[in-house]
């Protein structure tokens, strides 16, 4: 693997200095022009999100870093926060400057509490060096501070409106959107919620320029991406590779060429089998927040699907019926399938159920169950693995 840029050396403060050399609106333009799209999964253009928040009425605005990283198979945000906290925080400060916010929060999942002290120390150091707090870098017109808010163990709190509910002291139940957080987010104020990696990439864009980032990846999916690779590979870990890389090329890099199937995008993602390994990992083909789980030919794919559905059934917040009951019914169905006692009509009914959850569930949790359900069932029926 060549020289790494995201996971390369970084002099703290570089991104913020570069941002402060520009007008606030120009920082937003730079992020837009870079083509950066959110790395938390949905891929919303970051510059557009910031533009909406900057334009929203009111002078109290918030920046939130989504460090809930609960999608099965992802751990890149853990590595960024442990090894490159300045890169992430500087991206948040840049966002604060760009949209005119004075406060930022990191929503850190409870499972990552072991990082809390180290992160607080970095923030304290930033304050003592004038990189955080009042009049950042001597700029009287720019105050911005960052606080860490700990999660309490709930996958759905990674969904941005549930995350905001949780920060406000309630159950993490997703809100009806619109209004979107950029208009009415934390405490009903305009709020930018971005993934940990998105903020890290903002810092690199500030450092190296929009053209550099835009020049990597594909037309619709610009730049570099961190991939969390696990499962049946020789070298599990975090890989920095361009967007738009094919599944094959990725498997070669990580030592996973024996793979029968690859789950891209975590439990809520899609399974692809060998004949589709020339497809691209990109927003326009197979989207992912970075979770890549590799399965060798000996794996029982229905068992994999059962594991994912157990996850969804447990993590469903229970607020909407399609998700609360749908996840349970799908799980029962897969268990019956494993016992071999299922009529073809039942399989069709289960697929229909998953598809109707996609249009009727309130948030991405229930909406995305059809992706693993359909694709893993197909892979199983194809007989690519045990």
């Amino acid at each position: 693997m060549g020289d790494r840029v995201i996971l390369g050396p970084y002099a703290p403060g570089t991104a913020v200095d570069a941002a402060l050399d520009q007008r606030r609106s120009d920082v937003v333009m730079t992020v837009r022009e870079s083509g950066l799209r959110g790395r938390g999964g949905a891929g919303f253009p970051t510059g557009t999100k910031w533009m909406l928040a900057a334009a929203a009425a009111g002078d109290e605005k918030y920046v939130i870093c989504n460090a809930d990283e609960g999608e099965p198979g992802t751990f890149k945000d853990r590595v960024l926060l442990q090894e490159y906290p300045d890169l992430v925080f500087d991206g948040m400060v840049t966002a604060g400057y760009a949209i005119g916010a004075k406060e930022g929060y990191v929503y850190l999942r409870a499972e990552y509490r072991y990082m809390l002290d180290a992160l607080e120390n970095v923030l304290e150091k930033m304050r003592s060096e004038g990189r955080l707090g009042n009049a950042i870098r001597g700029r009287e017109d720019f105050d911005f501070d960052i606080h860490i808010h700990l999660g309490s163990g709930a996958y759905v709190c990674g969904e941005e409106s549930a995350l905001i509910e949780s920060m406000e002291g309630r159950r993490g139940e997703p809100r009806i959107r619109p209004p979107f957080p950029v208009v009415a987010g934390y405490l009903n104020k305009p709020t930018v919620v971005n993934n940990v990696e998105t903020f890290a990439l903002v810092s690199r864009v500030m450092e190296h320029g929009a053209d550099w980032f835009r020049g990597i990846g594909t037309e619709e999916s610009a730049g570099l991406k961190l991939y969390s690779v696990s499962g049946d590979v020789q070298e599990p870990g975090v890989y920095e590779l361009p967007m738009g890389i094919t599944v094959n090329a990725l498997l070669e890099t990580v030592g996973g060429t024996d793979a029968a199937a690859v789950q891209i995008g975590g439990a809520s993602g899609t399974m692809v089998t060998r004949r589709e390994f020339d497809r691209k990992i990109a927003f326009e083909d197979i989207a992912t927040g970075g979770s890549i789980i590799v399965f060798g030919p000996e794996r029982n794919l229905l068992g994999v699907l059962e594991n994912f559905l157990e996850f969804f059934a447990e993590e469903s917040c229970g607020q909407c019926t399609p998700c609360r009951l749908g996840t349970m019914r799908l799980l029962e169905g897969v268990r019956d399938l494993q016992n071999g006692s299922v009529e073809p009509e039942r399989i069709d009914a289960l697929r229909n159920l998953a598809d109707s959850m996609a249009i009727s569930a309130k948030c991405g949790l229930g909406q995305s169950c059809n992706a693993p359900f359909g694709s893993i069932l197909d892979a199983h029926l194809e007989g690519v693995a045990r």
Partner: protein
């Protein structure tokens, strides 16, 4: 549980509220603090919190019941949370689970009688590159084997008994 002096939950809550404030956004941090210091947030504490923050008791209870790191029932001093999600599941989770049950002397979902240990399954903890993995309170352990689990449990048992 061994005999404990009676806890004055009103005092416990008051101290935490003094630190965290009475704003509704402080509710979860308050619950987290009490959970950590006392191993649970019992009804008495919930009621005191509801009064201090001027929210309903139901609001406090529904928040606790939502989050897996908050509990009304007492938990052990050391909570073992073994990851059950796919990358860990595929790489020896079951053997490690049995070894944990043996070493701790409790089954999943249980708390030991001396109040030292709780054992649970948890979903993905972001350690998929080092399976199988678990959390013990705030510490993460990866690449577990039935053998390494015995050593880890022994360490915590020693720590717990020293306190």
């Amino acid at each position: 549980m061994t005999t404990r002096t009676r806890i004055d939950w009103n005092n416990v809550v008051q101290d935490v509220v003094d630190m965290r404030g009475e704003d509704h956004t402080a509710l979860i941090p308050i619950l987290q603090d009490i959970q950590r210091s006392h191993g649970h947030v019992p009804r008495e504490a919930q009621n005191a919190i509801a009064i201090a923050l001027d929210v309903s008791q139901a609001r406090v209870a529904e928040v606790i019941s939502f989050y897996s790191f908050l509990t009304e029932e007492p938990q052990g001093q050391y909570i073992f949370r073994l990851c059950q999600t796919i990358s860990c599941e595929m790489d020896g989770k079951d053997e490690v689970a049995s070894a944990l049950e043996r070493a701790l002397g409790i089954a999943f979902g249980e708390t030991s009688e001396d109040g030292l240990f709780s054992l649970e399954y948890t979903n993905c903890i972001g350690m998929c590159d080092q399976p199988p993995a678990m959390l013990v309170n705030d510490d993460a352990f990866g690449g577990l084997t039935p053998q390494s689990v015995q050593d880890i449990v022994a360490d915590y048992r020693r720590k717990g008994e020293e306190r």
